[in-house]
Amino acid sequence: MPRFRLVYATVLSCMFWFATSRPAAAADESGAELAESSSRGLEPFSMSNISNASGYATAIVGLAIVFFALIVVTLFIMVLPRILASIATILPEEVASHDIAGVAAAKDDPGLIAAIGFVMHARRRGGPDG
């Protein structure tokens, strides 16, 4: 299996090399090269493509916004337990009645506990796959 993956990775690496080894040939920007570039619908390889499209600014601002959003989420999650603790004095978190009944019933039946454990284990093994 690892050997198969290695072959697959090697093929993709070759494609990567093929795709990215063209800048040297493109450096002289001969007429033929420009014609080929336009035929494939792309600009010639150049750092100026990045600056012309405000690429650096877009990348920096984009990454900063991602960080900002996730930092705010982080801060909110850090504060949330304290907020909930203060709310719990007024509105204590309810434990569902069927949960209590279920635990009480399960205590009487070790076989049921084993069955529930098996089902939970089986479900966890088939977790998210995306």
Binding site: M1, F4, R5, L6, Y8, A9, L12, S13, M15, F16, W17, F18, A19, T20, S37, R40, G41, L42, E43, P44, F45, S46, M47, N49, I50, N52, A53, S54, G55, Y56, T58, A59, I60, V61, G62, L63, I65, V66, F67, F68, A69, L70, I71, V72, V73, T74, F76, I77, M78, L80, P81, L84, E93, A96, G127, P128, D129, G130
Partner: protein, 380 residues
């Protein structure tokens, strides 16, 4: 005889070009990988068969191909081209995902943000190679390691590259166990890989219920472009965590996501017709995709090391690699690499935190790119 000649002219055998044949072989290879090697079989098998279907030459005048108006395939492909399927997949993912480990150790969310470095560096790389800003944004999001997000953004920004981007994104997700370990080992010392982390705390039901609503509001008020993806993700999670809509949550994470996966995979496959897919651009996209996965992995690992400079309770930098999303494969890779160094070190639960944060981060990154690159203020 004339009728027979006319019929023969319409057969696939007469119209089949070597490029179509090559694509059919590629489709068959995908199916073989799915069946024999179990590489992302839920995706590669529908995509592989779709590739074969999409490369059977059709007759002019008969509305058969995915690109022919009013063909059956074009109606199925509508869900891809208009970005309908990816949010539905996110609904199912939300109904499957347990955010508890992330809620118990929120600082690990930042690793999910750091791994988005791959998206933006690849965006620059694509610009350098001559792609338009819109195409570059769609290619860059491959680094988010999230198939539905890649498809969603390329459907919005560069529909002409959708087939290549989708195939690249899912191929590299299958290759996470190959791409990530060398980078993780290269960027960490043995001492760092041996770091044990404290078990996550128990998260209350209230926290788990409030989180999807609050996180949705925070993320989409900052980046409204992520509204659809994150809306469905957190809606699915609320169905699960509320415990009062178990039937809906169960449907979202089983039957519904399966149906959408079948339609999405198959129709993406049918869109890879040889004349559109076998181009130099596709090879570049595959190259940039590999680059983006590598940079995203490095970004997560290096940021974990950076965080350790300030933390008293050190985190194992290997878990930074799980920030690339690819749920749950990259978290499994972290567990395997950590386990190789120390069989008593269990990193899977800790790695799930940056892993699910990576899903949120890549959706936010997609929203930002979509907003910025469709804005008339940006020169193109």
């Amino acid at each position: 005889m004339e009728i027979l000649d006319k019929f023969l002219d319409t057969t696939g055998l007469v119209n089949l070009e070597y490029t179509n044949a090559l694509m059919i072989v590629i489709g068959a290879a995908f199916i073989a990988l799915a069946i024999i090697k179990h590489y992302e079989p839920l995706l590669l098998l529908p995509i592989g068969f779709g590739v074969i279907v999409g490369n059977i030459p059709t007759t002019e005048g008969m509305s058969l191909s995915v690109y022919d108006p009013n063909s059956v395939l074009s109606y199925i492909y509508f869900g891809v081209s208009q970005g309908v399927f990816p949010p539905l997949i996110f609904l199912g993912i939300g109904a499957m995902t347990d955010f508890s480990t992330m809620l118990s150790n929120p600082k690990l969310i930042l690793l999910g943000a750091a791994a988005q470095l791959g998206v933006f560096i690849t965006f620059l790389g694509a610009l350098y190679l001559g792609f338009t800003p819109e195409q570059s944004g769609a290619i860059g999001i491959i680094g988010g390691a999230d198939g539905p997000t890649s498809i969603f953004l390329s459907a919005k920004l560069a529909p002409e590259l959708l087939g290549a981007i989708a195939i690249a994104a899912y191929s590299y997700m299958a290759l996470v166990p190959v791409i990530q370990p060398p980078i993780m080992k290269l960027l960490t010392t043995r001492e760092e890989r041996l770091i044990h982390m404290k078990p996550p705390r128990v998260v209350s039901r209230r926290e788990r219920m409030i989180f999807p609503v609050a996180a949705f509001l925070i993320c989409t008020l900052i980046a409204p472009g992520a509204l659809v993806l994150l809306g469905m993700l957190f809606f699915g999670n609320l169905l699960k965590e509320s415990c009062v809509t178990e039937r809906l949550a169960a449907t979202a994470r089983t039957a519904m996501i399966d149906i959408v996966t079948i339609l999405l995979g198959f129709s993406v496959g049918t869109s890879t017709q040889a004349d559109r897919f076998l181009q130099e651009q596709s090879l570049m996209i595959f190259g940039l995709g590999a680059l983006s996965f590598a940079i995203a992995t490095a970004g997560g690992v290096l940021f974990a090391k950076f965080m350790n400079l300030f933390l008293t309770e050190k985190i194992n930098p290997l878990i930074g690699a799980a920030g690339v999303s690819a749920v749950p494969d990259s978290a499994r890779v972290v567990q395997i690499v950590g386990h190789q160094e120390d069989p008593h070190n269990f990193l899977l639960m800790h790695a799930m935190a940056p892993n699910v944060a990576g899903v949120i981060g890549s959706a936010v990154a997609a929203g930002v790119l979509w907003a910025v690159l469709t804005s008339p203020a940006v020169p193109s």
